[in-house]
Amino acid sequence: MDLVSSQGLRIDGRRPNELRKIRCKLGVFSQPEGSAYLEQGNTKVLAAVYGPHQTKGSRSKAIHDAAIVNCQYSMATFSTNERKRRPRGDLKSTEMTLHLKQAMQASIKTDLYPYSQIDIYLEVLQADGGNYCACVNAATLALIDAGIPLKEYVIACSASLGNGDVPLIDVSHLEETMGGSNLTVAVLPLSGQIAVLEMSQKFHIDHLPVVLNEALNGCRRIYEILDEYVKTHLNEIGTIAGWAKSDF
């Protein structure tokens, strides 16, 4: 089955350069310092940020000039089509946790909080492809909600190559498993700096700039959507609390 039909539509009816619908909400929970809920198509992800606080566990892990960023990626057992036996601790989750930590560390100003720890917890409630991307985006929103200083948003997007030459953006689970190549990139959108880049399967090296460009474009568009939402959210809160001017 082709990833792109003869009419130029993908399996879920999108065009090759169309992102899935993004819905997000900041400050959804009372316990964490910062929290966010993000939906990218059918992928639903929750992010919670605790910190900065004193290093829990062994004091020897504390770094004298920076904060430790601790990430945990967990998938609910009912999030996938086949029941997932281990929510966390299996190889794939451990790998995802490490990549998430590396992506967020590229942007958090850790030198402002020596001897401290920032915990980022992610829970995937429904997985439909692009789990890593949704997690990175949700984590960024949660960090913003927690008020932790960031250099920039960290936005992630995935891209693929369909029918051998059509670049596809924002890959869903079905497209991932159908054997197409998959390129995931986590980027700081304004400066264009790439934090994490991962690719699977293979395609000809001539296609790389095209697919990478598609993914970076996707990141920029997602950044605009999320930034718009954050500004609206802050405006709302500020108006209620009285510190934002209603005309700006």
Partner: protein, 274 residues
């Protein structure tokens, strides 16, 4: 104001309780609002999200096919697990399930199986060969007290929203055929609902405590009621109580159970219409 609260938390609370009030504005016998939503997670066979005040809990049910136990060839399996991840509160550290999570899991499992929430025989497709196993995973995503209340409500909501495909087992050929088109829902026989209480001193019992109140209390207890019958009273140690106080709490729990039933009815009915 916040300094007084951090330095003398108990006295801070007692100053409020004298006037029959709590810092969040409720009286000592007022319950928090409950909101519920079912069937929002499409990868699960049934799901429910319940919010009791700030406490938020998601229950997802996955159904799998498998052989039954040889001692009980006509019974399916109902396996409930409650997870309190580090996401929901800073008091839970990452790692193996905490004591609280294990106690809650055992509590919910015991009540669900003893009350007979579902007739396990109804999960049987072919005796001794094929039965349904329902894995109910309850995840707390924000912990602000009264988790047991939210857990039971979400479990019932999720069970009511489960739709299983029709499965047939051919005895001669041993072939399993699954018909995705026809959907069967579960027959939920009883609906146990929990109500949590926190004991502050001999005279004050707080209804529906939030996390701060749980930590400051000198004892906690939980009453589970199903269809006007008392299912369980769970009082793990703590301050002593008199019989009269327990009776009063049981009647409060009964009132709340009726309200929660109306909520479940309204939510699941709305889903059926959609």
């Amino acid at each position: 104001m916040d300094h007084y609260k951090s330095v003398h938390p108990l006295k801070y609370y007692q100053d409020y309780l004298i006037h029959d009030l709590r810092p969040d504005g409720r009286s000592i016998s007022k319950f928090r609002n409950i909101a519920m939503n079912v069937d929002s997670i499409t990868t699960a066979n049934g799901s429910a999200v319940v919010r009791v005040g700030n406490t938020c809990v998601v229950c997802g049910i996955k159904a799998e096919l498998g052989p039954p136990r040889t001692e009980e060839p006509e019974n399916g399996f109902l396996l409930i697990n409650v997870d309190l991840p580090s996401l929901c509160s800073s008091q839970f550290r990452p790692g193996p399930p905490s004591d609280k999570a294990q106690v809650l899991t055992a509590f919910v499992n015991n009540i669900a199986l003893q009350c007979g929430i579902i007739e396990l025989k109804s999960l049987c497709i072919q005796a001794d060969k094929l039965v349904w196993t329902l894995y109910c995973d309850i995840i707390c995503i924000n912990y602000d007290g009264a988790v047991a209340d939210a857990c039971f409500t979400s479990l019932i909501g999720a069970l009511l929203s489960v739709s299983l495909p029709k499965v047939e087992y051919n005895n001669e050929t041993n072939v399993i055929s699954v018909n995705e088109e026809t959907k069967i829902s579960l027959n939920v026989l009883c609906k146990p609902i929990a109500t949590s209480f926190a004991i502050f001193n001999e005279k004050t019992i707080l209804v529906d405590p939030c996390e701060e109140e749980e930590l400051l209390s000198s004892g906690m207890f939980c009453i589970v009621i199903s269809d006007n019958e008392l299912c369980s009273i769970h009082k793990p140690g703590g301050n002593v109580l008199e019989e009269e106080q327990i009776k009063k709490c049981i009647s409060k729990a009964k009132e709340r159970t009726v309200l929660i039933y109306e909520l479940i009815q309204a939510t699941t009915f709305k889903q059926k219409l959609l």
